[in-house]
């Protein structure tokens, strides 16, 4: 059982009439890669700054390794931080940038040099120590920022969308690397991002944040397959959203009417007849077949429609189908299914348990 490294209790931060962080409580474990996922304005950066000490919460506490640091200034907390725009000191060399935390702690030069050597080897930026940040590429700068955050082996590392300024290829590479460093060093990482793929790739647990509150904190698989709220369901993964009314409930399954089309979906335990619900079905869980071919019996929901468009995305493609109730549904599948092309009549189908259903009052 890993110990709790960071504990936040009821943290609240308001800016004027806006509540950026609203009664947030969470525990983060020692060897955990913890992602804070949410859209911009959800408060995730503010929460990070509260942990760092750059903001003081109006209410609540922050504890690091059991110690209440809520009113401790940032320079006394011993955390590390990596920023989206790197924030390297332009007038210092790469080496000086990286050893800065050690210098602030008063470590002697020999120790600084030793640690510097270790970290540049680890992050594969050895040889750049004498250069200035302006002479480095984006990827190199980000590694230097990482090195600076890690060199003092801080109690935790805070990362504020660090890969957002890198191009796609580099980002993919760094996602794997950053995860590797976290495991190797055994320090908790708190990673803020609005990019769900990043969060899903790198983290152990994800907290989905919406308007200052955590909608769900769970291991990443659960976030993906068992979203707790409509917001999480819509934010993570690509889903179709269906708002409808329950006709009848029978043992965990509900018959709903979707603008004239009947569907069978699994519903929450407390759902009753006549309830309004929001139903999310992930695009990749829907099958698409040409009209007339046989559909698996296990796909209780089968709808006929016309394929309006195919959006090619490389490995996969999005198939936009217009159904008989004049709504559109998006299916993600392998690209280049030979049997269907734009204009064809098709059948889309999926099993009843495949989606997630939320009662409308839940929203």
């Amino acid at each position: 059982m890993a110990d709790v490294a960071i504990k936040i209790e009821g943290a609240t931060r308001r800016f004027g009439s806006v509540t950026a962080v609203d009664q947030v409580t969470v525990e983060i474990e020692q060897d955990e890669f913890f992602a804070l996922l949410g859209p911009s304005g959800s408060g995730k950066t503010t929460l990070l700054r509260i942990i760092a000490g750059l903001e003081i919460p109006d209410e609540g506490r922050v504890l690091i390794n059991g110690e209440d640091v809520t009113h401790l200034p940032p320079y006394a907390r011993g955390v590390g931080m990596v920023f989206q725009d790197f924030l390297l000191f332009p007038h210092k060399t790469v080496g000086e940038n990286i050893t800065f935390p050690l210098k602030m702690q008063g470590e002697n030069k020999a120790h600084q040099a030793e640690r510097l050597d270790w970290i540049v080897q680890l992050l594969r930026i050895d040889g750049l120590e004498k250069r200035y940040p302006s002479q480095l590429s984006g990827g190199q700068q980000q590694r230097v920022a990482l090195a600076r955050g890690l060199i003092s082996r801080p109690v935790l590392l805070l990362l504020d969308e660090p890969l957002a300024n890198l191009d796609r290829e580099l980002r993919k590479e760094m996602e794997v690397e950053v995860r590797r460093y976290q495991i190797e060093l055994g320090i908790p990482f708190v990673y803020v991002t609005h990019n769900q793929e990043e969060a899903l790739t790198m983290s152990d647990r994800i907290a989905v944040m919406n308007e200052g509150k955590f909608d769900q904190i769970a291991p990443k698989l659960d976030i993906y397959t068992k979203p707790a709220t409509p917001f999480v369901a819509s934010f993570v993964g690509h889903s179709n959203r269906i708002d409808a009314r329950i006709g009848s409930v029978n043992g965990g399954l509900a018959r709903i009417d979707w603008n004239g089309l009947p569907l069978i979906v699994s519903c929450p335990a407390d759902a009753g007849d006549g309830d309004n619900i929001s139903y999310f079905i992930k695009c990749e869980h829907i099958e698409i077949q040409p009209d007339g071919s046989s559909v698996a019996d296990s796909n209780e929901n089968q709808l006929a429609g016309t394929l309006r468009d195919v959006i090619f995305k490389g490995q996969t493609a999005d198939y936009i189908v217009v159904l008989e109730n004049e709504t559109e549904i998006v299916i993600t599948d392998a690209s280049g299914i030979p049997q269907v092309k734009a204009g064809d009549r098709v059948i889309v189908s999926w099993p009843a348990e495949a989606g997630n259903c939320f009662s409308a009052d839940h929203v």
Binding site: A52, G53, L87, F89, P90, M104, S152, L158
Partner: protein, 272 residues
């Protein structure tokens, strides 16, 4: 199309011409004075018969030396105060949010819009009647500092606008106390701007007449001695002085130019 090219060419040349005329107008008097300062016959200095007599007279002139010392003292004091307050004010306004920002900014800039003469006589009266001080160096330093703060503040503002204050945040997370942040991060980056504000305030106070005159009474400064000399016709020392001061200003501006060119300081100049 060809017509437009000609139009463009004409307007281009027109503007260049205006610019050149302006430079000529601004610099020919200075150039002529420098020329005169080396001339044996200041009435009609042609043909060229150089001598350094004017400079010898100047260096031997006790009053000018005294005045030089006073001017230097005055300017150094005023510039130090100006640079200090301007820097603090600019950092405060740019780094922090406060509902007093606008008001404080206006107050710090306001000396720019008050005539030097007014600054001179009002501080004279204030010192004389309210503080009971006769004209003295301290009141002159303070009055010039007020004048210089506005210029310095403007300069610091334009420079610091580009400073990324989040670097200070980063430094603090990494263990630097606020004073350490200033020493390690902020100051090393902005020192050329502070020096620039200092130099400009220095020059303003060094060559100032209308503020200093009323506040100094009998204490001579270079401008007031020069004024005396000018009233009685241009003596050779004045020529040499003008040449030297111009040289001094030129050197200061060369320093500022190098600062800005090498990217240390900006002034809104976006390099290359």
């Amino acid at each position: 199309m060809a017509g437009m090219q000609l139009d463009k060419r004409l307007s281009w040349s027109g503007m260049v011409l205006l610019l050149l005329v302006l430079y000529l107008f601004l610099y020919s008097p200075i150039a002529y004075i420098i020329y005169l300062s080396f001339a044996s016959n200041t009435m009609w200095p042609f043909p060229w018969k150089p001598t350094i007599e004017a400079y010898e007279n100047l260096s031997g002139n006790r009053i000018y030396q005294q005045a030089l010392w006073n001017s230097f003292l005055l300017s150094f004091g005023a510039a130090t105060l100006s640079a200090l307050f301007a820097t603090m004010g600019a950092i405060a306004l740019l780094k922090y949010r406060s509902r007093w920002r606008g008001l404080f900014g206006i107050i710090l800039i306001s000396p720019l819009f008050v005539a030097e003469l007014l600054i001179g006589i009002s501080t004279l009266m204030f010192n004389k009647q309210v503080l009971g001080l006769p004209g003295n160096m301290v009141s002159a330093i303070l009055a010039n500092a007020v004048h210089g703060v506005a210029f310095g503040f403007l300069i610091m503002l334009t420079q610091l606008v580009r400073y990324n204050w989040r670097m200070d945040d980063a430094a603090m997370v990494f263990g630097a106390t606020p004073s350490r942040v200033f020493r390690e991060i902020t100051l090393p980056i902005i020192w050329p701007a502070i020096l620039g504000a200092f130099l400009i305030s220095f020059l303003l106070a060094f060559n100032n007449l209308e503020i200093s005159f009323y506040n100094l009474g009998a204490i001579p400064t270079l401008p007031s001695v020069a004024w005396g000399s000018l009233r009685f016709g241009v003596k050779s020392e004045l020529l040499a002085l003008t040449a030297l001061v111009n040289g001094f200003v030129f050197i200061v501006f060369a320093i500022l130019y190098v600062f800005m060119r090498t990217g240390l300081v900006r002034f809104g100049y976006r390099g290359e």
